[in-house]
Amino acid sequence: MTLSRRHFLSGSLGSAVLLGAAAACGSGDTGVGGGGGAATTGAAGSAAAPSAAVGGKVGGGPVTGNISFAFWGGSVAEQTGFEYAKKIFETENPGATVELKTSPYDGFYSGVDRSIQAGDAPDVFRVDYTTFGRYASRNVLLDLNPYYDQSEIDAFIPSFWQAISYNGGAYGVPHQTDTSAIIYDVAALEKAGVSSVPTTLETAWTWDEFADVMGKLRSSLPDNQFPFAYNWTQAGAYRWLSFLYQAGGSLLTPDLAAAAIPSDAGTKALDFTKSFFTEKWVPDTNTIQGTRYSDDFFLKQTTVMSSIGDFSIPAVADPAQGFKGEWGATFLPRDAGAASDLGGNAIAVYNKTEQADTAAAFAKLMGREDVMKYFCAQSMELPTLSSLAAGGIDFVYVPELMSVFTQQATTVSQSVVDATVTPAFNDINTTLQAQLETAFKGGDTASALEQMAAGVNSALGA
């Protein structure tokens, strides 16, 4: 890379997410107010009521009590990061313990929902940004505003603080983010005559250049091997929106009140991605309802390029089970502009927990600079604190490739963030899953876009 990460983050794209904070301040290590049993209900989580004052509970000594923290078992790397947070928390708060409750991703939210309905939810749990709005809007999360003073809030990249904000309340801690970029098999590209791969965001392949590369790879590969796989499988359907935004389109209107998909950009994006299948650039099974994910296609060498989230890097880089051969990373293609998806997770606190202060303190610790830095370094995920986004994380695996993902993250526009955290996004994603699957299997573009718009409008109540 010719640009340093700091230079890039501070010098490009006014709309970029990672540019939000001018100041890299915030030690984030202010203690959380002690005393027991406060702030479990009241205005917390209310969709209608204004939130409690910022900073009302900042300060004070160590907290006590036993809390549970539920998360899905993503990887050994993430588990290591969470165990580190538990260790730090219990050391700093001798009277407090954290029970880590890991479960598979499939069924995680169903379990959380059932436990909320039963009034027995984990005190703290992990929520991804695409699902966050659903919880924030249903009055089940604790407003964390009182636990933060303004300087601590300012330490976060504004877009991410906004992602956990709802009707004036702050219903979680932006823990980390991730986004997608392309990994590739160096030898396969060389064999196909692809002599250079973009190393800066500005020189990312245009759609035409991308198509040219796909064509070269298609010609050089056998029938049962493919140039590319995209990570839109199952719940990842929303990642198709990156193509829509690259083409200059948008999921929602600027007021977020209605669908904006049917458009020239929408038609162009859908036709372009449908051509992945007709041109045999991707396996026929790389559809929404497929059972194999893009990183698996790459690891099994069914494809020689795949779009993946940075959280998949540990698996690809694993010496024993990972990719056998030399591999690199480059940017998603661009058209009218560059764009990528908002991934990542927040840490939320159940608003009926009996240990509100302890739970809030633990959630807050997860967003503290040293703890976030350790977690991101282990899990190959991106930070949400401005100070860390500017650099300083020693990523454990192939750190030189992480700069690609870090730069790609700057193409997550504000409108992508706004759309992703809308409470109806789950329903919107369901619509996208259904219509994209039909379109990729030969369905009509115009009809698919209209159906998408109808589904989105229905989800929004428009």
Partner: protein, 311 residues
Amino acid sequence: MTLIDRPTSAVPPPAPARQNRRSGEQGRAAAWFMAPNLLLIVVFLLVPLGLAFWIATQRYESLGDPVNIGMSNFVGLTTDPVFWESLRNTVVFTVATVPTGMALGLGIAILLNSVMPARAFFRSVIFLPLVISGVSVGMLGAWIFDQYDGFVNNVLAAFGVSGPSWQSNPGWAMTAVVLVTLWIRVGFDMIIYLAGLQAIDPQLYEAAQLDGAGAWKRFTAITWPMLRSSTFFLVVMNLIYSFQVFDTVFAMTSGGPNNATTMIVTYAYKVGFDEHGPGQLGYAAAVGVVIFAITMVFTLVLWRRNSAAED
């Protein structure tokens, strides 16, 4: 003396008071014996069934309180194309798996009921898939029928044959699911038929053989009629199983491609419990009620037909 006038027994009947006391004691004892089962049936069967009907009349999302919407969920089903497609897929799947599985199970049972070496071993091998979890079998099936890197297509490629698109072609995807299901179910069919075959008196076959009946005649005149109760049991069980198939399909194809293998239960799961689905528990319950109604009607019709045949 007419038959009516003749005493039916030389032994005098017991005194009415004593008889009543004894039957009362027996009734109480029976009630105590039945109570645990009845309790379980009420708590785990009847109450959930009633709740399912109630939830089906609600707009009930995974978070928040239910709102009564009457029959709207059922009305919504009538215009839901994915529901109808999943119903059609389920019927196709049922028709493809039930008769074929039973025919294969019967054939294997007859083979393993005869004198052949290592019968116990073969019975165990064929029965084994049934005790493996459906999800594991589904994942195994996904690997076996992976169209790019799967066992079946790799074997075919070794013979220079290009394997079918087991996952991306709707017809082949359904075929793969049916084949894996048959692999699971044949063992169950075999074991039930084997039990039925062993209950047939061998003297019937000896007598038929003495009368000159050939193998086919012995099968059609003795074996098949004597297996009627086994066949009835298997038809009912297999229909219920096929209509409620979930785990294998979900793990193997996730309902794809383009809903070609979405079954009615996988659809209910998707709308009710999928991580990034709509979380509409009321709508999913309505689908569940439809499944219940269909299987109930099937079972009653079969029951009546079987009863009529036995009479």
